[in-house]
């Protein structure tokens, strides 16, 4: 079973994503901020991470940077999920090494498709 880590500080967004990916037979992990995300990533080494950017304390950019600097974690696929949708934000996200940048609000069906195609 493939492992997915959902990182967001909005409980309802987390709830919906958890439902969707459990139904797609993923093993779902949840983190509510950046530092929690790093802890879980180190422990569980998920296949893919859905990462919010604007979070208290450690933000999404910092999480991604940590992953890329770590040999064990740098191959984990990362999708940014963010309400920031200016071109400069997207460019920055992809430059840092995210595999995909999806702006909020998003369609859950499309998101599932993207996740599956990245994990192929």
């Amino acid at each position: 079973m493939q492992k997915i880590l959902i990182v967001d500080d909005e409980p309802n967004i987390v709830m919906s994503l958890e439902y969707v990916f459990s139904k797609e037979n993923f093993e779902v992990y949840i983190a509510r901020d950046g530092s929690e995300a790093i802890e879980i990533a180190k422990l569980k080494i998920p296949d893919i991470i859905l990462l919010d950017i604007m979070m208290p304390n450690v933000d999404g950019y910092q999480v991604l940077k940590f992953l890329k600097e770590n040999d064990n974690l740098k191959n984990i696929k990362v999708i940014f999920l963010s309400a920031k949708n200016k071109l400069s934000d997207i460019e920055l996200g992809l430059k840092l090494g995210a595999d995909k940048y999806i702006s909020k609000p998003f369609s859950t069906k499309k998101l599932v498709k993207e996740v599956k195609s990245l994990l192929k």
């Binding site: 500080d9 909005e10 409980p11 967004i13 709830m15 609000p105 859950t108």
Partner: protein
């Protein structure tokens, strides 16, 4: 040393310098060419052959006085960070290419004044250039052991060197027609030569001090037994002090106003920030240059005791007599570099002035206004090249025909005093609005006449060894008119004496004319721009007031004659873009007139460009008060424009934040609804949970929208406060009632024992809104178990203070001021609790401030946060 060898070395040396200049011109973008060090070193063109030989000569005969020439610059240079920055800003903003242009533009583009400044500069600098040629020739003779210079020019090496220098200056100095373009090649070569002359001088200094003698103490001991030693190591009492003072002041002016210094410091300046390097590097350079002067001088005095050796040549003679020919050659080359740097930069700057401020405005305007661009450009370049050659040849013949049997220093100082006559109009123009063109002209003329009378004539007569009664007895035998003791002042030496009186009458005339006669509007317009340069720099073309009628077509025609079709087109396009003007506009406005004048200024000087442009436009007179009024208005309009832009930016940021905040609940709603839509078979419990969340998030959206509207209304003052007499205790109780249920649910106690009452004038609904927000925040952040929220009031004389505190974790110290910002969410929020809109405290702040109160946050001990607001008791 054989003269052929020396000539060969000179040729090799000159080729190397030419090559460096050529390379720098080709690689003008290289970091070797563009850096503050090259800039600072190029300023050392101040140190000429005079520094190399003359300082030593002066130190050997009259002691420490040579230091004043370097003391002045060292004192004034730190102020450049402000003063020179201002000068550079003005010059760049107005495309000024020389000192004459600077002064003539400041006084309303005055053609005559520009020409006058040019003439004074030529008068002052040509003898100075000939002095450099003399130094080259004399030292050449010494090192090749020639006793006499040939009287035939064809056999005179110096003549060929002068011609080579003219070719160098003409080739690298006239690459561009626009004289404000920087001459990278020449400047880089000069910077390199500055290193060469310093290093070689230090080498000879060390050689004399530590090789010929056993260190400074040894030289001192030996020199101190010589007669005349006292003069050589003291200032010379109070009288000497006055002389020192005026000489330092003189060199302070010289370092800024010598044409070559203005050229390297202002015209060749690439970036303003390079100045900060100059403020320490250049004084350091001067210090290094002067360390050994006194030792070489004393050493020479000891060594050549009782012999007839020219003290100016000590530097060269010491190694030569001791058989160290290579060292002597180094000294020669060092002095040679110092001389040629000065000659090249001086002729370059003088030729720009000659062409742009004298020849073109007085002779070629008609021809240019009919010629086509290619021809005109060639003509301008030819005028400059001819100027360069004429100047150098003039200097050569000056040196040839006057047997300048004087020490190097005296001629240099005479030219300093002449140049100092520009100081009143230059500095007056920078800092005094009333300074007028007429004052500048008459002041300058008077100053020059006095200098000629008190210094130039006695000097010339003296050097021709003609004794004259008027020097000894005064003009017409009147004692107080003695040229070197004007009005009976006896304690000043000739140079400080002439400097003092000439500048005295110069300033006096300048001031009297400026105060008594008001200049025209044009003059005054430029006066405002120069004096308040920082204020008007932002206005660019708007800072110039012009009224009249002009057609773009005509102006374009004039521009094309000098810049050619392509450059004119490009410049105008840039102009249209900058001011957002339609390209097909027929009538020109003040900005275009000013812009075009500036475009031409670099090529033909400000006075000519003004004459050319005004020949195609119909100008109306404006009164002085009108000019000042319009200037003031433009300035204010610009400022309010800036404020608007700032507000615009804040609004953009706010909208960005709003969009982000709205998207978050919408994301949840969208995702949850999609799931419900796609999964018909979803369990009832999950379905209910999802639907509840959707309702909650929808509420959040509407709450957010209400808050934003609320905030907007309060901020713009659209909503009037309903002010009434109320009792604060009553309002607080009402607010506590509204949150009581929430508190009970969370098991949090609300403590209101510390309430004092007061009657106040406020909008009760709004204050209640603030209190509810504060209370619910406190409930949210209180300790999970045994949570306590306390409300209390203090009634002071003028205000009532209301505080709400919790016993939670408190607020991060760095966040205390930020929490009142829109959309600021505290880092310490427990994310499992529902988030607020991030606007509550921003709204509260707005409400309290519209009541003329204050609101702030602080942490309390042992733990918890307190928000306090005040309301004034007498609300006006």
């Amino acid at each position: 040393m054989s003269s052929f060898l020396v000539i060969f070395i000179i040729i090799v040396y000159l080729s190397a310098i030419f090559y460096v200049a050529y390379w720098a011109e080709k690689n003008s973008k290289s970091k070797w060419v563009n850096n503050p060090y090259v800039y600072a070193l190029s300023l050392a063109v101040y140190c000429t052959a005079w520094t190399y030989y003359g300082s030593v000569g002066l130190a050997a005969t009259s002691g420490l006085k040579f230091l004043t020439i370097y003391l002045g610059p060292v004192i004034i240079i730190p102020s450049w960070i402000i003063l020179m920055r201002k000068i550079i800003k003005i010059s760049k903003g107005n495309k000024i290419s020389s000192l004459a242009d600077f002064i003539s533009l400041r006084y309303g583009n005055d053609r005559f004044l520009g020409a006058l400044v040019t003439l004074v500069c030529v008068l002052a600098i040509v003898p100075y250039i000939s002095l450099q040629l003399k130094a080259i020739s004399e030292t050449f003779n010494v090192i090749t052991n020639h006793k006499i210079t040939s009287n035939y020019i064809i056999f005179d090496t110096t003549f060929y060197i002068a011609i080579l220098l003219a070719i160098f200056a003409a080739f690298f100095g006239t690459q561009h027609t626009d004289a404000t373009e920087r001459h990278k090649g020449i400047i880089t070569a000069v910077a390199l030569e500055s290193i060469i002359k310093l290093v070689f001088f230090l080498v000879i200094g060390v050689y004399v001090t530590f090789y010929l003698f056993n260190g400074p103490t040894d030289i001192y001991n030996q020199a101190s037994i010589l007669p005349n030693f006292k003069v050589q190591h003291t200032i010379g009492g109070l009288e000497g002090g006055f002389n020192w003072f005026f000489l330092s002041l003189l060199s302070m002016i010289a370092i800024m106003l010598l044409p070559r210094q203005f050229q390297v410091t202002v015209v060749e300046n690439e970036r303003e920030k390079y100045l900060s390097k100059v403020t320490w590097l250049f004084p350091l350079y001067l210090l290094l240059f002067n360390i050994f002067v006194i030792f070489i001088a004393w050493g020479g005095n000891v060594f050549f005791k009782g012999q007839q050796v020219d003290a100016d040549l000590f530097t060269l003679m010491l190694p030569l007599i001791n058989g160290h020919e290579i060292l002597a050659l180094l000294v020669f080359l060092g002095g040679f570099s110092a001389a040629i740097s000065m000659v090249v930069i001086s002729t370059l700057s003088l030729s720009t002035m000659l062409s742009n401020n004298l020849i073109i405005p007085y002779g070629f305007l008609n021809k240019f206004s009919r010629g086509e661009s290619k021809k005109n450009t060639v003509s301008i370049k030819i005028i400059r090249r001819i100027s360069i050659f004429s100047l150098i040849i003039l200097a050569y013949f000056f040196y040839k025909s006057f047997t300048l049997d004087r020490t190097l220093v005296s001629i240099g100082l005479i030219s300093f005093v002449l140049i100092a006559q520009l100081a009143p109009s230059f500095f007056g123009g920078l800092f005094w609005r009333r300074g007028s063109a007429r004052g500048a002209k008459y002041g300058l003329i008077v100053g020059v006449i006095i200098t000629v009378y008190t210094l130039v004539i006695p000097f010339t007569i003296d050097s021709q060894l003609i004794s004259s009664s008027f020097i000894n007895e005064g003009l017409f035998g009147i004692g107080i008119l003695k040229p070197d003791q004007l009005f009976g002042i006896q304690f000043l030496e000739p140079v400080p004496h002439a400097f003092f009186w000439s500048l005295f009458f110069n300033i006096f005339t300048y001031t009297i004319y400026s105060v008594s006669i008001v200049g025209n509007y044009r003059e005054r317009n430029f006066a405002e721009m120069f004096v308040d340069s920082s204020k008007y720099a932002l206005l660019h073309e708007d800072a110039y007031i012009w009224k009249g009628k002009a057609y773009v077509k005509d102006i374009r025609k004039v521009l094309t004659r000098f810049l050619g079709e392509r450059r004119t087109e490009r410049a105008l396009n840039l102009f249209y873009m900058k001011y957002n003007i339609n390209k097909n506009t027929q009538l020109a406005d003040a900005r275009l007139v000013n812009f075009s004048e500036k475009l031409l200024t670099g090529s033909i000087g400000s006075a000519s460009s003004r004459i050319l442009i005004s020949s195609v436009v119909k100008e109306e007179e404006i009164s002085l008060p009108e000019v000042l009024k319009i200037l003031d208005e433009t300035q204010k309009a610009k400022e309010s424009n800036k404020e608007l832009k700032e507000k615009d930016k804040q609004k953009d940021e706010f909208l960005d934040a709003v969009a982000h905040e709205l998207k978050t609940p919408i994301t949840s709603i969208r995702a949850l609804s999609e799931i419900l839509l796609d999964n018909k078979d979803i369990e009832f419990e999950t379905k209910t949970k999802f639907l509840n969340s959707i309702v909650g998030e929808s509420d959040r959206v509407s709450r957010l929208i209400n808050n934003i509207l609320d905030l907007e209304k309060l901020a713009t003052g659209k909503e009037k406060l309903e002010l009434n007499n109320n009792f604060i205790k009553n309002t607080i109780f009402k607010s506590i009632d509204s949150v009581a249920q929430l508190a009970v649910k969370k098991d949090i106690k609300i403590n209101y024992e510390g309430l004092n009452d007061a009657e106040l004038f406020y909008d009760e609904d709004r204050i209640q809104q603030v209190l509810i927000n504060m209370l619910s925040n406190a409930i949210k952040f209180s300790q999970e178990k045994n949570g306590v929220v306390s409300v209390f009031t203090y009634v002071n004389k003028k205000t009532v203070e209301v505080s709400v505190e919790d016993n939670g974790k408190g607020i991060g110290e760095d966040e205390l001021a930020l929490i009142f910002d829109k959309f600021y969410q505290s880092k310490n929020q427990n994310i499992l609790k529902p988030k607020g809109s991030g606007l509550g405290l921003a709204i509260s702040k707005q409400i309290i401030e519209s009541h003329n109160g204050k609101i702030w946050a602080q942490n309390i001990k042992p733990h918890g946060a307190r928000i306090t607001f005040t309301l004034p008791i007498n609300l006006n």
